[in-house]
Subunit: 266 residues, 4 copies
Amino acid sequence: MTTGLLKGKTGIIFGALDDQSIATHVARTCVAEGARIVLTNAPVAMRFGEIQKLGEELGAEVIPADATDLGDLEALVKKSVELLGGPLDFVLHSIGMSLNVRKKREYTDINHEWMLKTFDISAISFHKTMQVLYKLDAMKEWGSVLALSYIAAQRSFHDYSEMAESKALLESFARSFGYYYARKKQVRVNTISQSPTMTTAGSGVKGITEFFNYADKMSPLGNAPAAACAHYCAVMFSDYTRYVTMQNLYHDGGFSSMGMAPEILE
Amino acid sequence: MTTGLLKGKTGIIFGALDDQSIATHVARTCVAEGARIVLTNAPVAMRFGEIQKLGEELGAEVIPADATDLGDLEALVKKSVELLGGPLDFVLHSIGMSLNVRKKREYTDINHEWMLKTFDISAISFHKTMQVLYKLDAMKEWGSVLALSYIAAQRSFHDYSEMAESKALLESFARSFGYYYARKKQVRVNTISQSPTMTTAGSGVKGITEFFNYADKMSPLGNAPAAACAHYCAVMFSDYTRYVTMQNLYHDGGFSSMGMAPEILE
Amino acid sequence: MTTGLLKGKTGIIFGALDDQSIATHVARTCVAEGARIVLTNAPVAMRFGEIQKLGEELGAEVIPADATDLGDLEALVKKSVELLGGPLDFVLHSIGMSLNVRKKREYTDINHEWMLKTFDISAISFHKTMQVLYKLDAMKEWGSVLALSYIAAQRSFHDYSEMAESKALLESFARSFGYYYARKKQVRVNTISQSPTMTTAGSGVKGITEFFNYADKMSPLGNAPAAACAHYCAVMFSDYTRYVTMQNLYHDGGFSSMGMAPEILE
Amino acid sequence: MTTGLLKGKTGIIFGALDDQSIATHVARTCVAEGARIVLTNAPVAMRFGEIQKLGEELGAEVIPADATDLGDLEALVKKSVELLGGPLDFVLHSIGMSLNVRKKREYTDINHEWMLKTFDISAISFHKTMQVLYKLDAMKEWGSVLALSYIAAQRSFHDYSEMAESKALLESFARSFGYYYARKKQVRVNTISQSPTMTTAGSGVKGITEFFNYADKMSPLGNAPAAACAHYCAVMFSDYTRYVTMQNLYHDGGFSSMGMAPEILE
């Protein structure tokens, strides 16, 4: 399905790593819908080469940038505006990584230096990106900024650890910055709270398969796949959703509104 | 803007009364986006003749139905399926009327018989509609059912009176029925919580202008206009939002996420 | 444990049926904490005689009243004010009954006449009670009105059926009426969203045992027992919580904040 | 009003600075209700001497501790357990400070190093405190841990800046850690979302007086005073609220449930 929803629009996609990444799905969908994009990821992610291939496939420049580094972000935004011929219509932030999860520290035995680093990578990078876009006046009027979140921001999921706090931060940044960006340029800022997704990043989380199957059963429509998430992102980047801002939007097959599914008991 | 988002889709639109109605905007947008529709409203609303004109403009049949009457709803749905050539892709419920507000009864001096009637018209009609669609198996797989709500379902707005409870009911019906319809046919059920809108129905609410201006100032993007709401509805009817269900979606220029806007204090 | 938390206070307790009723626990706790109370229930509930015994045990008058009948409510309130020596400090609404659940109608095959009756009994009775109290000016300043709710007001629980909507209504009434009562007399209005409880009323709900055990495992502290709920009600009636109003308060061992408990998967 | 609600209980109160501090009110109330406590604050806060006077007044030891320092926290907890004769019943975290607000940096021109420091002081200190209590097994069964929050965690308040994110973090820590502490020892963890309060800390926030007056008008009961907050904290530390955990509790005179107050328009 394509309708040219994003015809003539331009944007930056953060976080495409490989074919499983939600950001990869979003990038492909945006281009299929008529947009021109720039891809970016941390320099270390470049090593695997898949993002370069994606860039070639989509006719998109790939610009490495450490999303925790204001200098890198500035260079990225300036270069993107130049390449894409002017201010941007959309930006996707799809970045998340937890040092304490990676290093298997229990939530009650956290290394707080690592926690700060996790917040910087997974959430503060979103504020930094918006601050750079805002200062460089790099978004078009009625542009759309999105970040990917998870319902652990609202409810406790044992093994999600400090990523719960990262997502709570991320969603708060969307509300707070959304106010300023709406007043300045009618730019919308939202988060999409996506079903658990079997990505390379996600697969590092302990018990992700149990998460995944439980959520799939609990969700009346089943877990939302990455391809469907890409369609939802496209819609949020389009002119059809101009008055939606400062929201956290559940794209989860109904999970967030379930109390108990009889399917779980069986 | 049109992209053919609803090409080949069919649906029923409840509640178009005149040019100010949100439902009228939705009807026009759906047809512009490629859908074929049936229009319906209460028999009494036919008298004014504007819905007939709208039907002619859009090439849409107009079928009167009292949305509180199961018999009327059954006839409407059967006829619509017949006219549109099979099960439906979407349904919009845009119905609301408060007897106590109309008759200027204070919220602390409610006539409870009228309250029951208000609930029947404004909210239970939504359950009835879904029950009829469900029993007649009149929706296509992955179809989409929407109702229009208001943030008074969550927060107190003095003059909104028993309509607050009507909207709370409406949103609860969306969650409850959404579970069943997802399991049966992957049909999605959602509500859109729209900014205050200057419709003929809305203008009956005491203090609506103050509401409207206050909400406009409080919302970083300003109040969402009816035309923008129609675009959002189209998106929710489309295949781009298949995994969104049992949600209440704020389409309000950011109002719902505001605590205090400095613009209010000035 | 008693501390005389409600010393000198007076109130009405609706809904004590037998020893399992939450209202019975609340009545005993209030009296133990120093309050004098009036007990009330529907005339039909009197037949079983347990409420009379409770009245004798607690030195409390028992006044039958149909909570859907404004005349009965007026008589009840007037008599209570007279018996208790003046305006009241607190009122507990613990009433809920679903005709469609009782008669085993599926949620997708609801009898809507019964639904209206269910709403009248389970939710509108709360508005009626407050309206009568308000008009008769029967509450003391900083008084406290409470109703018992359930998380089905926010999330879908398959077998809870139209009680979900009843609780959504109930909580909306608390917010809406709470505004007026705060402005008039600093009276607080709140709902407590209690864990599933094995009461005589609750046991009529299909699958209540599965509900109960699931919720117990999902709740980090386990399901909150009725006796604990009574303590929480006492606190909400006391002067320690004067600035809490228009809130829905979860008393559920943490259930409402859980996304997934590993205990469920085992 | 005192009832001996906390007779025999012991706890630590963080954050008493001077007579305006909410923590000072909580300390006085806890002692009046029968508790024995330890007071703590950052070493720099000791200079002003008021906390020493408060300690003398209440017969409470004052132990300086930097709440961002695990070593300080360990020493504090160990000493407190020793002084108070065993594991604790309650802990209050009332700490908040924003470097960017202090240094008048706009939210769209944040210094992100300062932001990290703000989070460490205002929110991560809460996780650190719980982690130390947990590892040292320093809480009694059914103990209660509380932190003070603000509704900026949910809604945008222009001048609150990065404190919005700090409070979002704080509330997320309560949910996440609450799960573990409930499972281990039935310890409850909650946050109280208090009305804006004219404290020495609060008065550093730009536009606090406008905040305060606006919130006061918007709240049907008016802003909740610090003394009332202390009573609410006492109740949350008591055995009357044992099954409330992982909650954010609004103590705000109804502010959080208001959409529009007619008083604002006048």
